[in-house]
Amino acid sequence: MAGKLFRVDVVAPEAIVYSGDAQFISARTTEGDIGILADHEATMAALATGPVEIHDADDNVTTIGIHGGFLQIYANSVTLLTDRAEMTEGGRDEALRLAEELKEAQQRAVEASGSN
């Protein structure tokens, strides 16, 4: 049975990565993992490198690897604002791997721009 639903948007600069209703999501913030159900208090958090799981109304799970960004919860609407996100079919471990890859890619980019 589906629990109470709330709105989830995962927004990246070049596209909306995910948009829909969910009953539960989990994400990794700089302070630790956070699980969100409906009617969560208004929160703003910084995201770390890690997987985001979204359980939608039909109990389908979408996993997204994310590196950095922000999470805002307000009036049963959750917004994840990130400039590095990649959706995956491979579950939580795959998402974590993708997130780590995004992190490495960024570090390489920083090093590359530093050596110029």
Binding site: D9, P13, M44
Partner: protein, 291 residues
């Protein structure tokens, strides 16, 4: 046999026609590029909106915002970023923005400020380096289809210059896409960051912050700057394609007109030739029958 004159005109017609083929192709390409660029601008909008919303909420939820990137300091050195295109044939697109930036640079210099110049696109780089301006950093190959990575690169560079106090403010000269027919060169102050104003109803919400509002703000502002630069690049790109489309449309129309005139001239020359030939034949026959 066509005479030398007719042949020459025909050759010119051919050359104008092949130029016309090129300008028409460029016009069509630019037209499709505008549409794509507009879509990209629209797609980046939700991110920008949400980012603004988060910053507003931060300002409302905590006791006002304070961060080095938000603070105005006395400007000794001014950073100027000029966004141009890599390729020409875009009408007044590049010259308009470059002229505006150069005016501003002269004004700032007259006011006793130092200038650090950053350029995006080959045209601005070529213009300013030819005039012996010292260019701090030049980015090439980003304006055709700017990606977020390009914005991050540019954003980080100007951020670093600002944080290390190499510059005390940053102004971006870019072209706003007003409509397909109008693109407007504008001055866009990006640093220090001017946070969006909080609205009344948002102020009431008490947020829980993880970690502190200050820490979130410190992470958020660089992203905000990148987002701003990304928006600027996307719009400049749409403007560039629109300007090129218009320039190429005008060029194609001119070529058509030229072909029309030249064809008429060729016909006239041909007709004159025939008339001369006939009168020669008639003259010859008269002479023979008379003799």
């Amino acid at each position: 046999m066509a005479s030398a004159e007719v042949r020459q005109i025909r050759r010119r017609i051919k050359s104008v026609q092949s130029t016309m083929k090129i300008t028409r192709a460029m016009e069509l390409i630019a037209t499709s590029r505008i549409a794509k660029a507009r879509v990209r601008v629209a797609r980046s909008q939700p991110y920008t909106d949400k980012m603004n919303e988060v910053i507003r909420n931060l300002g409302a939820g905590s006791a006002g915002l304070s961060h080095p990137l938000l603070e105005r300091r006395e400007v000794v050195t001014s950073g100027v970023v000029v966004v141009s295109s890599d390729r020409g044939l875009a009408g007044g697109y590049n010259s308009n923005i470059i002229r505006m930036a150069e005016h501003r640079i002269n004004d700032l210099r007259n006011a006793g400020k130092q200038i650090r110049l950053f350029t995006v696109g080959e045209k601005a780089r070529a213009y300013f380096s030819y005039r012996n301006f010292e260019i701090e950093q030049a980015w090439l190959g980003v304006t055709d289809t700017p990606g977020y990575g390009d914005a991050r690169m540019i954003g980080n560079s100007i951020l670093e210059a600002y944080e290390t106090e190499v510059v005390d403010s940053v102004e971006v000269f870019t072209t706003r896409y007003v409509s397909a027919l109008t693109q407007k060169p504008v001055l866009w102050p990006v640093l220090p960051i001017e946070p969006p104003e909080a609205t009344e109803d948002e102020a009431a919400v008490g947020y829980t912050f993880e970690p502190s509002p200050e820490a979130i703000l410190a992470r958020l502002l660089p992203r905000y700057l990148e987002g701003t630069v990304f928006g600027i690049l996307l719009e400049a790109s749409a403007s560039e394609h629109a300007a090129r489309r218009r320039a190429m449309k005008a060029a194609t129309e001119n070529a058509e007109e030229l072909v029309r005139l030249l064809t008429r001239e060729a016909n006239q020359a041909r007709q004159a030739e025939i008339t001369t030939e006939i009168s020669e034949i008639v003259g010859g026959a008269e002479a023979l029958s008379g003799g």
